[in-house]
């Protein structure tokens, strides 16, 4: 299985350097890329090899020595394949951290050993908690600059653990001391820190077990209806989409939501090839025994689902606000949930999360990079799940009708 990793932490904590180090030490970097980085290191720096330039690929990033946008890199070891999202640390790019973390199994949160926890570190731990990132690795970096001091490391780990325990959904930290620049505990165990008995980062990433998804029963949000209209497949109607939540088999009884009609699965195709069963994650098309009016946005749900979804037009969701224009009570947006696009009205802003203290306070509006909780009225009923139970059924985005920009990520917690 592919392990999806996102980096997090303040600017200059060494995220890009760490990813560069991982790519370099696993021999994933191609010769021409390395020589390009050597050349760029001379142009943008003091000439010593700057591994961050392996992921900081935009001209502005190289000129300013910062990460502006998420970069995706791929590497494989004999044991596992990895996708790494290197995210920016600046507060103004928190939305990119949310994006990177949303699709990740593991977040590596870096801390500069000299500075300890910063507001950004706390913010990123909070984001990891809110987004339900399954595994969090706390990498205390730049240990070379604190003489590889054990007490410093333990102090930072204790501080981070206290914060992680206080989060709305507590996060378990896997801590380790590293030097991304020198490579200590990245691929090879550090000889400078014999007091650390844990695995180096790569070994940890290769062996760490990702908790499986909850089985809530099969869900299929219809993306597209396949109607060939050819003589050969005259009566074929395939409801195409990605299966989530649980497996599906021919003969299974399903319910169509929000309509409520029932039918039986009589055919499953994956990429046009018939199969008897399908597993979560597979892009399939499903044929049903009955001629029911089903279109894009409808959801097929296993009739005997272990956890039934909720059909509602009033939702309560945690929100990450991503644009300058503020979110205000009474404002209107486009909501995209699964394959349904509808209008949404902000009926209330319940609170704003204070990421530094892991508490919350009342709020009139939410600004760029704020995290909060809102109540929305939606123009049509949605088929929702609690985000922590079934992510695809609990995730949504808000879009600005006027600009088309994606403004928010929503983690649905409940119906009103």
């Amino acid at each position: 299985m592919v392990l999806r990793i996102a980096t997090a932490g303040s600017v200059d904590d060494g995220k890009s350097t760490l990813i560069g180090r991982l790519l370099h030490d696993t021999k994933t970097v191609f010769e021409d890329q390395l020589s390009a980085v050597e050349k760029a290191s001379t142009r943008y720096g003091d000439g010593s090899l700057n591994l961050a330039l392996l992921t900081d690929g935009l001209r502005a990033e190289r000129e300013q020595g910062i990460t502006i946008d998420v970069a995706y890199r791929y590497f494989a070891t004999p044991k596992r394949t990895f996708v790494v999202a290197d995210t920016p640390g600046h507060a103004q790019y928190t939305r990119n951290m949310v994006t990177g973390a949303s699709a990740s199994d593991v977040a590596i949160v870096l801390v500069d050993a000299r500075n300890g926890l910063t507001e950004q570190t706390r913010r990123h731990l909070f984001v990891a908690s809110l987004l339900g990132v399954k595994l969090v690795i706390l990498a205390v970096n730049k240990m070379d600059l604190v003489d590889f001091d054990e007490a410093t490391y333990h102090r930072i780990v204790a501080e981070a653990t206290a914060h992680a325990d206080a989060l709305p959904a507590p996060v378990v930290l896997n801590p380790l001391p590293i030097s991304a620049l020198l490579g200590d505990n990245v691929v090879d165990a550090s000889t400078n820190m014999p007091w650390f008995k844990g695995l180096p980062l790569l070994d940890l990433l290769e062996t760490i077990e990702v908790p499986g998804d909850h089985n809530v029963g099969a869900r299929l949000a219809v993306q597209w209806v396949i109607r060939p209209y050819s003589t050969e497949h005259h009566d074929y109607r395939g409801f195409a989409g990605r299966l989530t939540g649980g497996s599906l088999a021919i003969g299974d009884l399903i319910r169509v939501l929000p309509g409520g009609q029932q039918s039986t699965v009589i055919g499953i195709d994956r990429g046009g090839v018939p199969q008897d069963t399908a597993q979560p994650g597979e892009a399939i098309s499903v044929q049903l025994a009955d001629d029911i009016d089903i279109g894009r946005g409808d959801v097929l749900v296993a009739a005997v689902a272990s956890e039934a979804p909720i059909v509602t037009d009033r939702i309560i969701a945690d929100i990450s606000w991503m644009v300058d224009k503020p979110l205000e009570t009474g404002s209107r947006w486009i909501i995209k949930h699964q394959t349904r696009t509808a209008k949404a009205f902000v009926s209330a802003i319940e609170l704003r999360h204070d990421v530094a203290t892991a508490t919350h306070s009342p709020a009139e509006s939410l600004g760029l990079n704020d995290l909060g909780r809102v109540h929305l009225n939606v123009s049509v009923p949605l088929v929702i799940d609690n985000y922590d139970r079934h992510r695809p059924g609990g995730a949504a985005v808000l879009i600005d009708e006027a600009t088309g920009m994606t403004c928010a990520a929503l983690m649905i917690r409940d119906s009103e």
Binding site: R59, A71, A76, I226, P228, E232, R270, S320, A396
Partner: protein, 312 residues
């Protein structure tokens, strides 16, 4: 088939599974864009990535037919084998083909041929592409771009928003949490969709092997008359004209990418089938663009610059 694969020690079953997951993701993206956009088009260069893309798109709607046309931005600097192959695929899949010609853009004065001894038409493709998108009122164009190809591509979203001028603005990209795609655009704007974003060169070859995706013959080893230029082997004939002091020679080569023939280099290789190519790809120490694209080696940000101008 047997998979000889030294990239990882993954078993054939694991390889099949990981490629199948990439296929599920790509098909989901293709269906989503087809559903959300009014008038999409699939860009087809005849290269291996667009061959895989077309294969996936056909699978996404089976047993129905492809609900959008296919467009080839024709530089006029072609490998003959690729055009033959393109026409064969169009026939086989029964898709509608649109050819947007760079030569016509030049003839009508919309684009100006680069001057100097070695004009490449890579950059000019952007003009022809944007004109064709406007002419046919396409609101989305599927491309075979992969994030592992280039450091600027590594930053691009699955749905890449383009303004009235077709430009990519890396600082103003739309976040895609949970890979949820926002295809909302205003008149005059359009989207580029990259269903293969998360594939690597190795994944592409594995998929080609498992699915028996047909490719132009130049991807496999053959004898060819070439000339060495800036460390790159260019096929003699067509747009590549011998310069003073250059001596052509015969070599056993294959191509790792297919682009404008004037600047796409061949690599020395005896790999004559997918298994042998896979061994080569797994052992390669140079990226496919670095090895075979003269234009990307001109400057550190060549790809970013072209993308900003509306390139694929």
């Amino acid at each position: 088939m047997t998979m000889i694969d030294s990239g990882t020690q993954a078993t054939p079953a694991e390889i099949k599974q990981s490629v199948a997951e990439l296929e599920d993701e790509a098909i989901t993206i293709i269906r989503e864009v087809a559903a959300e956009c009014r008038n999409p088009v699939l860009l087809f260069s005849g290269g291996k990535d667009s061959a895989v893309l077309l294969h996936l798109a056909a699978k996404a709607f089976r047993p129905g037919s492809l609900p959008f046309p296919v467009m080839h931005v024709d530089t006029g600097h072609n490998f003959e084998e690729v055009i033959t192959y393109r026409d064969m695929l169009v026939e086989q899949y029964g898709v509608k083909l649109i050819v947007a010609s760079v030569q016509e853009s030049i003839d009508s004065g919309r684009a100006v041929e680069e001057t100097g001894p070695r004009p490449s038409r890579n950059r000019l493709q952007s003009v022809t592409l944007l004109d064709a998108i406007a002419e046919h009122k396409f609101d989305a164009a599927f491309g075979g771009g992969r994030r592992d190809e280039d450091k600027a591509r590594a930053k691009e979203r699955i749905l890449s928003f383009r303004d009235h001028f077709g430009q990519w603005e890396p600082r103003a990209q739309r976040p895609e949490p949970w890979n949820m795609l926002n295809a909302k655009i205003r008149p005059g704007e359009h989207l580029r969709a990259f269903p293969l974003s998360n594939w690597t060169e190795l994944d592409i070859w594995r998929y080609i092997g498992i699915e028996n995706v047909a490719l132009p013959s130049i991807y496999f080893s053959h004898r060819r008359t070439v000339v060495e230029r800036n460390g790159m082997l260019l096929s003699v004939g067509g747009p590549v004209v011998l310069e003073a002091g250059e001596t052509p020679f015969e070599e056993t080569v294959r191509y790792r990418t297919v682009g404008d023939a004037s600047c796409t280099g061949a690599v020395r290789s005896t790999a004559s089938n997918v298994d042998e190519v896979l061994v080569e790809v797994a052992a390669a120490r140079i990226t496919e663009r670095g090895a075979t694209r003269a234009d990307d080696n001109f400057s550190d940000s060549a790809m970013e610059d072209r993308k900003r101008e509306g390139y694929f």
